[in-house]
Every structure is written in structure tokens, then in C-alpha cells.
């Protein structure tokens, strides 16, 4: 079915409004988690129809090129990854000839609760905000690419093709959120696959869905503990590994892995000087003693 972009957005707007109206109601009914961890995005792959309205909305909001093969289902024949000018992609999994097996999965920055990239960045160019999004301050970036090394999801994309490169990734539409709006993708989604809200509440929502449909959903919310918890949460009815999700992501936060090493720094700074000066004093004393014993001033032999 071919939809024009404007029609998409109209539908998306309607769906988004409906979704936004629904979400708070559904959430209030559940037990609230004590501390909120900022915003979140719940992606239910059972509801995603592969319309790619999210891709279109994202590229428009971020002034990126239009998504490839817009409206053409052949785009799903090859798996796509995010790129410096593509902040989110939707991929198809399963056999296209068997409609029941087809699932669509949207990929983008996971906006981790304790992001490896923000912990890794020496210039704080990638920064975790209290509201939730991990934002990028391009004027601080050195282009060292340590964030790319650190991110377990391979999210930060580097502009290799230019002499003045930046890192590019989804910003969770932090500016739209600050203005009280939904992220562009969540706003555009017509099927309710993308649900934006408070992370803790979305986690409850996800668990509720699983609990209410135990035979349908896989009993795991991807992003609950992955990388120590991410803002973007996924629920599926097909095992996650079959949908291209990385299964080897650690369940502890990545910054915690370097904290032991970093916490040694103040100790080295404090203990090394007295230890080294003590050794120096000992060696000086031994020199003085041996000089005194021989009764001659140290002469220069070499």
C-alpha cells in the first residue's frame, strides 16, 4: 500500500494522540515505581506493521535525507543498520512469504540508564540528561570514537567521509520532550507499537502485557536489565535472538566496569608521593651512611 508522506503524518498524529491519551490511563492503574528513571520508549514488535512512519518522521525532524525506498517493501529485503544520516531503521524478520512469521523491529539508540558512551566520553560530549535522553554536544566532541568502542549496541555513528566529522545518533528528540511533545517517531507511529512515557511506568506496562498474555509474549522485557537498564524497552512474541537483538549484552551497567579502575586514581595520587619520597629518603640515608663509613666524599667515577 502506498501512502504519501503527508497521509502518514496525519495518521500518525491521530494514532499518537490516541496513544498518548491511552497511556497515562493504563499506567495509573498499575503500581508506580518509587524513583522515576526518566523517560522511556516501549516498543512492542507485535504491534509494528513496518510502515516506517517513524523513519520518515525522524528524518524530517532531524533534517536528514528521506528514508531509502520510502513506501517500497523491497527495502526490507536487505537488513539495514543505522548510519550517520540514518538515526533509526526498521528491519523485517521472518519469512516474507509467510505473513504470520513476519516481524518488524525498530532500531535506534537505547538511551541507557547508565550509558557506556556518556561514561566513556572524555569531553562530556555525550551526556545523560536527567530527563532521560542521552544527548550529544557536538561542539565538545574530539572525534576520538571511544563512545563507539564502548557502546554495546554499536549506536554512535561516525562521519568518516568528512574532514570535520561528528558523531551522529538518535537524540530521543530531547528538544521536543523539553517542549512537552512526544519524540517524532512515537508521535508518528500509527499502530501503537511505540509508546512513550516514564520509564518506570512503561516497565510496569510491559510486564503487565506479558502477564496478561503469557502465551503470546516472551517472558522478558529487553532493556530492563540489558546494559544495566535502557530507556528503550522491547517486548516481543518471538525470541529476541531471532529478531536480531544482541544477546551478549552485559546485565550490569557499563560505567560500573571502569569504576574500580577509576576509583584507584585518587589513591595513587595520595599514596605514591609519600611512598616514593620515603624510598628516596631511605636510599639517601644509605648513601650517607656508606659515605660516612668510608670517610671520604663521594667522588665522581664515571
Amino acid at each position: 500500500m502506498e501512502l504519501s508522506r503527508r497521509k502518514f503524518l496525519k495518521l500518525a498524529g491521530a494514532a499518537g494522540a490516541a496513544g498518548a491519551a491511552l497511556a497515562p490511563g493504563a499506567v495509573h492503574a498499575s503500581t508506580a515505581i518509587a524513583s522515576s528513571r526518566g523517560c522511556g520508549l516501549l516498543i512492542d514488535t507485535t504491534r509494528c506493521v513496518g510502515c516506517r512512519a517513524c523513519e520518515a518522521a525522524c528524518s524530517e525532524k532531524n533534517a536528514l535525507p528521506e528514508p531509502a525506498l520510502a513506501g517500497d517493501a523491497r527495502v526490507f529485503d536487505v537488513k539495514r543498520t543505522i548510519a550517520p544520516r540514518v538515526y533509526t531503521v526498521v528491519n523485517r524478520y521472518g519469512d516474507p512469504k509467510n505473513a504470520a512469521s513476519v516481524r518488524y523491529v525498530k532500531t535506534q539508540c537505547m538511551h541507557c540508564v547508565e550509558p557506556a558512551c556518556a561514561a566513556a566520553c572524555p569531553a562530556k560530549a555525550l551526556e545523560k540528561t536527567a530527563a532521560g535522553p542521552v544527548v550529544y554536544h557536538q561542539e565538545r566532541c574530539l572525534g576520538c570514537r571511544y563512545c563507539m568502542v564502548a557502546c554495546p549496541f554499536g549506536v554512535p555513528q561516525f562521519e568518516y567521509d568528512t574532514a570535520a566529522p561528528y558523531i551522529r545518533k538518535c537524540s530521543f528528540c530531547a528538544d521536543r520532550q523539553a517542549a512537552g511533545q512526544l519524540p517524532a517517531c512515537a508521535d508518528a507511529c500509527p499502530s501503537g507499537a511505540l509508546q512513550f512515557g516514564d520509564r518506570a511506568q512503561l516497565l510496569e506496562e510491559a510486564r503487565t502485557r506479558i502477564y496478561q498474555h503469557p502465551d503470546k509474549y516472551v517472558h522478558h522485557v529487553y532493556g530492563e536489565t540489558e546494559a544495566g537498564g535502557t530507556s528503550v524497552l522491547y517486548v516481543t512474541d518471538v525470541p529476541f535472538e531471532r529478531l536480531g537483538f544482541r544477546a551478549d549484552v552485559a546485565t550490569t551497567s557499563y560505567p560500573a566496569m571502569t569504576q574500580t579502575a577509576l576509583s584507584a586514581v585518587p589513591f595513587v595520587l595520595t599514596l605514591w608521593p609519600p611512598v616514593l619520597m620515603g624510598l628516596y629518603a631511605i636510599s639517601k640515608r644509605r648513601e650517607a651512611v656508606s659515605r660516612g663509613a668510608t670517610g671520604e666524599s663521594e667522588s665522581h667515577h664515571e
Binding site: T81, A83, A116, A118, A119, A120, C121, P122, A123, K124, A125, R140, C141, L142, G143, C144, R145, Y146, M148, V149, A150, P152, G154, Q157, F158, E159, Y160, D161, T162, A163, A164, P165, Y166, R246, D248, A250, Y254, P255, M257, T258, T260, A261, L262, A264, V265, V268, L269, W272, P273, L276, L279, Y280, S283, K284, E287, S297, E298, S299, H300, E302
Partner: protein
């Protein structure tokens, strides 16, 4: 008459200091040696390549990708460069803190190797950074204090300064600035302590960079103890480099040696070799501990495992025993050859961690492009040429006659 004498005085200074007392045409003629020819070819190809890299970006010259963000320039120029420059703080501590004066003859070359090593590490880093003009950002106003790389950046920045000040007395002696040189010498012990502290931090932190990559690095090399491995291997590399560099320098720069100051290089070599042997012994066992901790024994029977075993036995345990044997039987040539092999072993280790083991299981493994290799070789060549330039002019291998003093 007056005008000619005025003109002669400043020219003479340049002749004496820079041209080593030769007339300009004689100096230029003396430059035509085989080594210089090779170096000139390397620079003729490498410098334009570096300019091209800055003009067209990293994608145009490297095989780096979104999946493989780090390559040869980080693995070799930065990680190995810093390890090989570790002789600076090691020898400075040996001579000035532990008071082992018999190594005094090699402390200045070691500090020079360290200083130039770090300068060219920074140059290599500037070539690798996507936005090198932003290098001052984490130093001056935006502090990513949760980042290990932030700590590395600060330590390397400060340590460059420390090394420069440690090297400064030799330069000041060369320039004849006595008072400044006296002032600089007074800083020695403080600089040495500061330098040991900074080196401990950043040598280990370069390893700690990889703590964030548990699922991206091969389990045999990934360990929470990587920082310790990097620090100990840096000590070993530093000692190996001092042995290697001193034996080369005493051969190539024989004219710079003071014929009256008999330097017992054999004794120094054996002493350093003994220290390296003991460190290698301990290093082998702490690597074993890491294996036990990660419970990765089963992986030893894979191709990667075989390579790991080769690294352990060929580049750690073997030089350990060769050093021990050479020291015990006073075979200085064996110690020197082993030192070169050991330095190679540390290079292999760091390349293993950063290129071979990191991202070992991605679909498109990283292989350096020829421009990356050429760039690294060019940077190393410029470093060697700078080393030679300084050693040929400044009191590094010898003492300046005006500044001979008891130590």
C-alpha cells in the same frame, strides 16, 4: 671590518650548535647517507599521505568503520608508543629515587626516548582524532570525569610537560644557559615522583579503556586485570627499550661518547636484564591468574587460544628465561637480543588487545590500510630522526664538560 665581525658572531652560533661546527655545504653533503635516503623516501610518501588524511577525512585513508572505530593508529602509535616510552620514568626512578647511581649513564637517553615517545604519541593521536583541534576541550572546559580516557588525556598531557622539564637540563646545557639549567636540575626529584605517579596512572588506564568491552573482546584477553597487565608490560617494555636503545646508541653515536668517562654498558645491560627477567616472571604468573579468574581454560584449545599460548610462552616466559640465563652467564649480546624480542612482545600484546582480540568475532575484521601503515612508519621515522638530531648535538650520551659534577 666592524660589520663583518658583527655578522660572524650569530652565524657562528648556528654553525656550532645546529650544524655541529660544519660549514653549510659540508653539512648538507654529510646528510647523504643510506639511512637518510630511506628516511627521505618514507617522509616523501608519508607526509603527503598525512596531509591527505587531514584534507579528506579518516574514511578516505583508513579501513576504520562503524564497527571497527579503532585501528593501527590507536593500537600501535598510541598504545605501543606509550609503552615503549616507559623507560623514562623507570630509569628516572631507578637512578633518582632508588639511588642506583650506576645507571646514571642511561637515564638521559631514557628520558629523551620517553619525551620523544610521548610527543609522537600525541602526534599520532592528533592524526587519529576526528576533530584534533578540539583536543584542548577535555583539558580546559568540559570534563568527562567518568571517563578513563579523560584521565589518560590529563595524565599524558601533564606527563608530557614533566618529561619536557626532565629533558630540559640537557637542552639548557647545550644552549649554555647555566642559571636556567641549575633551576631545572633542582626540579629533578619532584618531577621524578610526579612522573612515576602519572605513569602508573596512565599506563594502567590505557588498559582500563578496554574494561568497557567485555563482550567485544576475546575472553582470553579480556580481564578485569587489564590495567595491571598494561602497567607491568609497560615497565618491561621500558627496560627492554633502554637496553635496546643504549646498545644501538653506543654503537651508532660512538662519536658522542666521552672517551674518558668509561661507561660500563655491559654491567648496566645485565642489571636491567635481571630486572626485566624478574618482572617477566611475575607478569607470566599474573596473566595466569587472569586466566584462572576468567575460567577461560577451555578456550586455549582454539586458534585464538594457540595464539594466546604463543604470546604467553614465546613473548613472556621465553624472554624471562633468556634474560635470566644471559645475566647469570654474563652474555650481554643474548640480553640485548632478548630485549628487542621482549619489546616486540609487548607490541604484540597491545596489538592483540586492541586489534586482534577486540572485535575478534565481527563479520568484517579490521586490517590496516597501507596509508595507515605508512603514516605510522612516517611518524616513527620522524621520531627517530629527532632523536638522532638531539643526541648528535646535546649532552645526552655524554656529560657536558662545563657541567660535570658529582651525583
Amino acid at each position: 671590518m666592524n660589520s663583518t665581525s658583527l655578522r660572524v658572531a650569530p652565524r657562528a652560533w648556528i654553525f656550532d650548535k645546529v650544524l655541529m661546527g660544519m660549514a653549510p655545504d659540508a653539512y648538507v653533503r654529510s646528510l647523504f647517507t643510506p639511512f637518510n635516503l630511506v628516511a627521505a623516501l618514507i617522509l616523501a610518501a608519508g607526509v603527503p599521505a598525512i596531509i591527505y588524511r587531514f584534507a579528506y577525512g579518516l574514511g578516505a585513508v583508513t579501513n576504520l568503520s562503524q564497527v571497527n572505530p579503532w585501528g593501527l593508529w590507536i593500537g600501535l602509535d598510541v598504545l605501543c608508543g606509550v609503552a615503549l616510552a616507559a623507560g623514562g620514568f623507570t630509569l628516572a626512578a631507578t637512578v633518582y629515587i632508588f639511588g642506583l647511581k650506576e645507571y646514571h649513564a642511561v637515564v638521559r637517553p631514557a628520558v629523551l626516548t620517553g619525551f620523544l615517545g610521548y610527543v609522537f604519541v600525541v602526534i599520532g593521536l592528533l592524526v587519529d582524532l576526528g576533530r584534533p583541534w578540539k583536543l584542548p576541550v577535555p583539558i580546559v572546559y568540559s570534563f568527562g570525569t567518568t571517563s578513563v580516557m579523560f584521565e589518560v588525556a590529563w595524565c599524558v598531557c601533564l606527563y608530557n610537560f614533566v618529561l619536557f622539564l626532565e629533558f630540559l637540563p640537557a637542552a639548557l646545557e647545550w644552549l649554555g644557559l647555566r642559571k636556567a639549567r641549575e633551576w631545572a636540575m633542582r626540579l629533578t626529584i619532584g618531577l621524578t615522583v610526579f612522573g612515576v605517579m602519572l605513569s602508573t596512572l596512565h599506563q594502567s588506564s590505557l588498559g582500563a579503556l578496554f574494561l568497557l568491552t567485555p563482550e567485544k573482546m576475546h575472553p582470553l584477553w579480556y580481564s578485569p586485570f587489564i590495567p595491571i597487565y598494561f602497567f607491568v608490560s609497560a615497565l618491561i617494555a621500558g627496560l627492554g627499550m633502554v637496553i635496546f636503545e643504549s646498545s644501538l646508541s653506543h654503537r651508532l653515536f660512538r662519536s658522542q661518547l666521552d672517551p674518558h668517562a668509561h661507561v660500563d654498558l655491559d654491567r648496566i645491560t645485565l642489571g636491567l636484564g635481571k630486572a626485566a627477567s624478574i618482572l617477566l616472571f611475575a607478569y607470566f604468573f599474573i596473566r595466569l591468574q587472569g586466566l584462572a579468574d576468567s575460567q577461560a581454560w577451555a578456550l586455549l584449545n582454539t586458534p585464538c587460544g594457540h595464539w594466546y599460548l604463543f604470546e604467553m610462552f614465546g613473548f613472556i616466559l621465553l624472554p624471562c628465561f633468556l634474560f635470566a640465563y644471559g645475566v647469570r652467564h654474563r652474555k650481554t649480546t643474548l640480553v640485548r637480543v632478548t630485549a628487542a624480542w621482549t619489546v616486540l612482545g609487548v607490541v604484540v600484546y597491545r596489538l592483540n588487545v586492541s586489534i586482534v582480540a577486540f572485535n575478534w568475532n565481527v563479520a568484517t575484521p579490521y586490517v590496516p590500510s597501507w596509508i595507515e601503515i605508512l603514516t605510522s612508519v612516517t611518524i616513527i621515522t620522524i621520531g627517530v630522526l629527532t632523536f638522532r638530531w638531539i643526541v648528535n648535538r646535546m649532552p645526552i650520551l655524554r656529560e657536558h664538560p662545563a657541567y660535570r659534577e658529582a651525583h
